[in-house]
Amino acid sequence: MSELIPSFDWQRVMIDPWTLDLSLYGWIFLMGFCATAACGLVGNYLILRRMALMGDAVSHSVLPGLVIAFLLTDSRGTTPMFLGALVAGILTTVLVESIHRRTRVKQDAAIGIAFTTLFAIGVLLVSLFSNQIDLDAECVLYGEIAFVPLEPLVTLGGVELGPISLVRMVAVLLGVAVLILVFYKELLIASFDEALAKAMRINPTWVHYGLMAVLSVVVVSAFEAVGAILVIAMLILPGATASLLTDRLGVMHFIAIGHAAISAWLGVGLGVWLDCSIGAAMVVGGAFVFGVVWMGTLLTKLKRQRSKPQQSGATVSAPASVS
C-alpha cells in the first residue's frame, strides 16, 4: 500500500510549492485558477440554461477547428488556433440549433449528432495528415498544466507578466467577467424567460450565440492546460457547487470563483503529493469540494427536519433525500 500511495509529507506537499518552488507552482496554480474561474463563470449560464452538454459539445468540436486552422496556416500560433476553435464552436452551435429547430430531433440528440460528427472529422483529419501534424492527441484530451511554467515569459514594457498561455487565460477571464457585467440583464432575462426577452427586443438567439462564442474562446484557452475532457468538469463543477449554496445569480458567480481557487489549490497539493497530472488533480479537488458542500446541505436539511417535528408536534417527517 505504501508503494502505491506516497506518504504525505506536510512540508513537501503543503509548504514547499508555495515557498521554495513558488516560481513553478505559482504559475500552475494561477493557470488552474484562471481556467477554472473563466469556465465556471460561463458554466453558470450553461447550468441555468440546462445546456451543460453544450460544454461537452464545444470542447470536442474544437479539435477539427484546431486541425483545419493548422492545415490552412501551417502554424500553431495563437491567432489561427483561436479562430479555428471559435469557428468550430460556433459551427457546433449553429448545427445543433438548425437540427433541433428544423426537424423533430430534440436538442440533446442534436448535440449528440453535431459534436461527435465534428470530432470524428477532426480525428479523420489528424490521421490523414499525421505526417504533417504534430498534434499530441494526449495533450488535446488531457492537456498538460505542468508545462505552463516552461513557456517563454511575456514581457510588456520591460515587466515580466508570465507564461504566454497564462497571460492569455487571465485576459480571457477578465474578458468573461466584463462581458457578464455588461450584459448581465440580457443574459438573465434570456435565460429566465425567453419569450419576454423576445418581446422586449432582447434577441435570445443572439444571446445564445454570444454565450457559445465566449464558451468556445474559454474552452480553447483552457485547453492547453486541462484538455478537452477535463475542461468539461471545470465548466460544470463550480456552478453546480454554487447552485447548492445560493439562490442568487450574482452570489453564484462569486462562489464559482471561490470554488476555482480552492480546487486549483487542492489540485496543486494533490498533484505534488501523488506526483500525478495536476490538471486531473484539480478536477478531483473541485469534485471533492462539490462533495463536501453536498454533504453539508444534506446535513443541514436533516438537522432542520429533526428540529421541525419537535416544534409542530406529530408531523410525519419524510426522509430528506426522497427527491
Binding site: 440583464k185 438573465l188 432575462i189 423576445k198 432582447i202 439562490d247
Partner: protein, 264 residues
C-alpha cells in the same frame, strides 16, 4: 406615466394565419380591439388561444396576415406592449428573487448597456404593492405558491408600464384570493384606459370578468361585448356542442340569478 392613450387602435389583426409544422392552428383571424377594453379569449383546448397572443407578440412566425399595435408594427413600439406568459413557461428554481423578476419588466425600457436605477426599483416596489406582494420582495422565487408566482408575473407586467397587455392564462391554478386580486388589478388597468387581452379557460367566470369576449376555435367564432357574444349558440359553435361545456353554461346562467360575482 405614459402619454395619454392616443386614438390609434391598440390592436388590429388582419387575415392572420399561424401554422405548426405546416398544419394551420389559426387562420383568417381579423380583429380590431378598441382602447380601454378588458378582453377575454375563450375557446376549447387547442383552439389557438395562446398561439394568437404569441403571434401578436411576434413570438411565433406568421404564415400570412399582419398585426398592428397602435397603428404601428410591434417592433416600433415594443415598450407599449406588456406580456404575461404562462406560469409554467419559466423555471421557478432559477436563482433570482421576487424583486429581480419584477425588475425584468423594466429591461425593455433600459436598452443595451444601461443599468437599473433607483427609479426602476421604485416602480418595481409600487407594482409589488399593487399585487400585495411587497413583503415577499426578497423571497427566492421557488419558495412561492402558484398564486404568488402568478402575482409576481402580473407585477412584472405592471412594471412594463405598457398600454396594451397580453396575458396567457393568468388565472390558471391560482387560489381564490389571488384570482380576486388579479381581477381587481385588471379592472384598474382597464379604468386607466389600458387594453388587456386575456386568455381564459374558465367559462363560468369569463362572463363576469370581461367587457368583451373573443370566442376562438382556430378562427374567430365571435367577438364583441360580452352580453352580446356570450350566447349558447355561439358557445356551441365554439366548443362544438360538448355536453359538459353546455351544462357549465347552464349553471352559469343559473348562477347569475343567485348573484354571481358582479361585472366590474
Amino acid at each position: 406615466m405614459n402619454a395619454p392613450i392616443d386614438t390609434a387602435i391598440p390592436l388590429e389583426i388582419h387575415d392572420l394565419t399561424v401554422a405548426y409544422h405546416k398544419k394551420p392552428v389559426l387562420w383568417g383571424v381579423d380583429l380590431e380591439v378598441p382602447a380601454g377594453q378588458l378582453v377575454g379569449i375563450i375557446g376549447p383546448n387547442g383552439a389557438g388561444k395562446s398561439t394568437l397572443i404569441k403571434a401578436c407578440m411576434g413570438l411565433l412566425p406568421r404564415q400570412s396576415g399582419w398585426v398592428k399595435v397602435f397603428g404601428q408594427s410591434l417592433s416600433d413600439v415594443p415598450t407599449r406592449v406588456g406580456y404575461v406568459p404562462q406560469r409554467e413557461s419559466v423555471d421557478w428554481d432559477f436563482p433570482v428573487n421576487v424583486m429581480d423578476v419584477v425588475l425584468m419588466g423594466r429591461y425593455g425600457r433600459l436598452g443595451l448597456l444601461r443599468r437599473l436605477g433607483k427609479a426602476d426599483r421604485e416602480v418595481a416596489r409600487e407594482c409589488l404593492e399593487r399585487v400585495k406582494m411587497l413583503p415577499y420582495a426578497n423571497r427566492q422565487i421557488s419558495n412561492l405558491s402558484g398564486g404568488q408566482q402568478q402575482r409576481i408575473f402580473l407585477a412584472r407586467a405592471l412594471a412594463q408600464q405598457a398600454d396594451l397587455y397580453f396575458m396567457d392564462e393568468p388565472f390558471a391554478g391560482v387560489d381564490a384570493a389571488t384570482e380576486t386580486a388579479i381581477v381587481e388589478v385588471l379592472g384598474e388597468l382597464r379604468d386607466q384606459g389600458k387594453t388587456l387581452i386575456v386568455v381564459h379557460h374558465d367559462l363560468p367566470t369569463a362572463r363576469s370578468y370581461f367587457d368583451s369576449l373573443l370566442l376562438l376555435n382556430m378562427n374567430v367564432v365571435a367577438f364583441g361585448p360580452t352580453e352580446q357574444v356570450f350566447t349558447s349558440e355561439n358557445l356551441q359553435k365554439t366548443y362544438g356542442g360538448r355536453l359538459t361545456i353546455l351544462s357549465e353554461v347552464a349553471s352559469t346562467l343559473g348562477a347569475e340569478a343567485s348573484g354571481a360575482p358582479g361585472r366590474r
